[in-house]
Structure formats: structure tokens, C-alpha cells
Amino acid sequence: MNGKPETLAVGQLTERKDAWWLEPLLTVVVLVSFGIYALYVALVNRNYEWGPYLSPFYSPYIQASWWPFSPAFLVLWVPLGFRATCYYYRKAYYRAFFWDPPACAVSELRKSYSGERKFPFVLNNLHRFFWYLSVIVVAFLAYDAIKAFFWQDGFHVGVGTLVMVANVVLLGYYTFSCHAFRHLAGGCMDCMSQNKTRYGLWKWISHQNERHALWAWVSMFGVALTDVYIRLVATGHLTDLRIF
């Protein structure tokens, strides 16, 4: 015996009395639902644009003659990689899908564990490279949102325009509150006073970073809802209201 107190009966995961299982359960439901929806949108390869509106799943729109599949697949690996290596989502999926652990002070099911030291999870160290690529994708989405103001008959604002602007703002907050960006902007310095600009940027990112989890979820819902809106308009199930 190693002297550690035996605290749990056989088969018992924890003595916690609260609903610790709720958070991982919701995470699984939401992430699996979003994954299935994203796969459907990418595979269906139609109804992703209407007027000046373009679904975020297809932006930037890449038409390549050598690519036999949906153009969405040429883009989606970037946000997928960015979110899969994101420090917040790592917490969420390690808890929900791998039970490493499912919640604090709750026992795990598997006994072997190597953390992020071995393949495939060591690849999470590449998060900053996905961040670089995500900045490019967000720039294209911002371009799409600006384009959504310019119709064939001139400058107008539709509900879809506002939806696309809201989507890119939420994605911007998520992308620019990233831990890797926080590090690159100023966190890597030991003497903040030597570069006031980087220090100021680091402070702003740190402030946003406190809500990184919120931006992660809200921006993900934003992408899905933007696509749903454009898809409903494109299929004629919804009429896009012109505000201006």
C-alpha cells in the first residue's frame, strides 16, 4: 500500500454530490451536433450563397479544377485545426470525450496516460500555426461581410448582412483572444516595460482572453447560425429583410 487513502468503493467514480456529469455531457452533445452539421454542409455542396451572401463554411471560396470534392473541404481544415488545438477546446474535449478527467476529482476510466507528450496530442503544440492560418480565414470572412453590403443595385443592408458582420466580429474576438497570440504579442517578453506597444497589446489580449471560452462557443454557434440563415434564404424558406 502506498499510504494514499482509499476513498472510493469499487465502481464509484467520485464522492461529489453535484451534477458534475452535466458539463461533459453538454459538450459532447454540442460538439457532435456541430460536427455532424458541418459535415452535412460541406458534403451537400449547394445553397451556400445567395446574392452577396456567402456561407462561412465555404469562405474563402476556392474553385479548383483538380479538386473533385466540395470546396468547403479546402477551407474547413483550418478552423478545425485551430479549434482542435485551441487551449480552451482542449480542456473541453479532454474532459468530455477522453475523460482525462471528466470533471475535477472524478476518477478516470483508462489507466494509461501520456498527456500531450506523444502523438497525436503532441501536435497540439502546433496551435500557433493554425492561428496564423485562421487570421487569413477571418480576413476573408471580413471581406465577405463587407461585400454583403454591396448588391447589384447598390449599397444595402439586409438582415443577412448584419448576420455576416456579427459572425466575423465573434470570430474576431475568438481568434484574437487566443492564448498563442497573447504569447506572441507580448507574453514571451520578460521585460514588458521595454516595449510599451507590445505590453499594451498583451494587456488588451489578456483582458479578452479571460472570456476566451465564451468566444469559443459563441463564435461556433455564430458560424452555424450564419450558414443556417443563408441556407434558408437560398432555398426560399426565408425572405431576407432589407433594412436599408
Partner: protein, 258 residues
């Protein structure tokens, strides 16, 4: 005044069991008060550590209803007292007796960390913005609740290859110090085992000082390890401009304990 049933672990390293005691609950009572009442009325030999009763000494860490807590900071009105309240010793460390555990492993880990290493003839004046980050880490009271809840130590007993969140915070406080010259990144990557941490944030959730252990200490350290070992672009620029990695140990300055 109502009576609350408490189930308290009684035993030592060879084993033990929960024993039930009635406690007369009073307004504002904390779990440590209940333990003291049990000692006074029912079990004078019940072992438990405590000192300040104000959440500052870090002595009275235990598991209350399965959650790592400081007993002195856990009020009975936060708990469901219609059911018996369970109090056990911290699970990650060997039991000495009852609620007292042997946390000496932590002090051995601390010795493995290169201490604060300023350069020779240091000018000790520092700007506030240079030490803001480090000051958060100095709030640590070494209650070791973060070490207790960390699943790498708690579930996998990885006490040889991983130093745990408390000491990742200590390394962060040294690595981010504007006057420190030592490089602890090789230790972090290998003997420190920062790769074991999968940032599930339980250490942050239990910290009674509300230190943002994961966001402000562990993730920035992980990014520094990425700078050094996993970023081929930075490595290319280092080679191009002849920038050398930082020295592995103190740069010849007078080493001082922080």
C-alpha cells in the same frame, strides 16, 4: 440549531474507514469548526492540520463531499446538510493519520527547480508592469489543493516525471521575472513533464487564492516550450540571425532563493 451528520475518515497509511459524528450546526459555521467540535465532543484523538482559520496558511486542505477544499473556507450553508457531509484527507498524498497527509514530496520537487538567478551587479529597480504577472503567482499559500486535484498526480501517480501545477506556477514566477537569467525550459519539457498537463483547469478551479494557474502560468510556459522546441520558423530565424538559445542554467550570477 440543527444537527448535521459528518462522516470523517479515521485511519492511517495501513487503512481506515469513515466514522459518523453528529455536529450541532451554528450560523456561519465552517467545516473546520465542525471538525473542532468533533474533536471537543467525540474524538479528541482526531488528527487534522490547521493554523490560521482564515484561508491564508494553507494547512487545512481536505476533500469535503469529494471536492478538494480548505476546510476553514467551506461554510456549512454551501453544503447540502440534509445528507451526511463527508470529510476525507487529500487523496493524492499518503495519509499520516485521519485528515493529516504527508505532503513532503512537494518540498522535494521544489528543490529540483533552479532558484532565482539574477545577473552579476544587478540593478534591483524594476517597473511595475514587469512584475505584475509574477505578483499574482506570489499569492500562492502552498495548500497543495492544486497538486491534489491534478489528475496526473491524483489518478496516475506520476510523481517522478511531473512537478505539478504548484511548481509550474513557481517556475512561471521565475521564468517571467525581469531579472532572472536562468533557463528552466529543458527541465520543464523533460524532468518537469509539462507535456503531461492537458490543461483541464482543475488546478485553477480549486485554487483558494484564485490564481489563474492554467491561463497565466501553465499555458504561457507551454508556449515558451513551443518557442524552444516545436516552432521551426522561430528556429529558422534563430539560425539565420545567430540568436542563441538562452543558457541552460544560471548565467553565472549570484543564485538566490526567492
Amino acid at each position: 440549531m440543527s444537527t448535521v451528520q459528518f462522516k470523517v475518515f479515521r485511519g492511517d497509511k495501513s487503512g481506515g474507514a469513515l466514522q459518523e459524528y453528529p455536529v450541532e450546526a451554528q450560523e456561519g459555521m465552517v467545516v473546520l469548526d465542525a471538525i473542532h467540535q468533533i474533536q471537543a465532543k467525540h474524538a479528541p484523538d482526531l488528527a487534522c492540520r490547521w493554523n490560521c482559520k482564515a484561508g491564508k496558511c494553507g494547512s487545512c486542505g481536505a476533500e469535503v463531499n469529494g471536492k478538494p477544499k480548505l476546510m476553514c473556507m467551506t461554510r456549512l450553508d454551501e453544503l447540502d446538510i440534509s445528507q451526511p457531509v463527508t470529510v476525507r484527507p487529500m487523496r493524492t498524498f499518503p495519509v499520516i493519520r485521519d485528515l493529516a497527509t504527508d505532503v513532503s514530496w512537494n518540498y522535494e520537487v521544489n528543490k529540483r527547480i533552479t532558484p532565482f538567478s539574477p545577473p552579476p551587479n544587478t540593478d534591483w529597480r524594476m517597473q511595475q508592469e514587469d512584475v505584475d504577472r509574477v505578483q499574482e503567482f506570489r499569492k500562492c499559500i502552498e495548500c497543495f489543493l492544486c497538486q491534489n486535484v491534478c489528475h496526473v498526480l491524483r489518478e496516475h501517480d506520476e510523481k517522478t516525471g511531473f512537478i505539478g501545477p504548484r511548481f509550474l506556477v513557481r517556475v512561471a514566477s521565475l521564468e517571467m521575472h525581469p531579472l532572472d537569467t536562468a533557463n528552466r525550459l529543458p527541465m520543464l519539457k523533460d524532468a518537469g513533464g509539462i507535456g503531461y498537463c492537458n490543461i483541464t483547469k482543475c488546478c485553477t478551479e480549486v485554487c483558494p487564492e484564485e490564481i489563474h494557474i492554467t491561463d497565466n502560468a501553465i499555458i504561457p510556459l507551454k508556449e515558451r516550450v513551443v518557442d524552444e522546441y516545436y516552432d521551426p520558423i522561430l528556429a529558422f530565424f534563430r539560425r539565420l540571425f545567430g540568436t542563441k538559445k538562452r543558457p541552460v542554467s544560471g548565467a553565472g550570477g549570484q543564485a538566490a532563493d526567492d
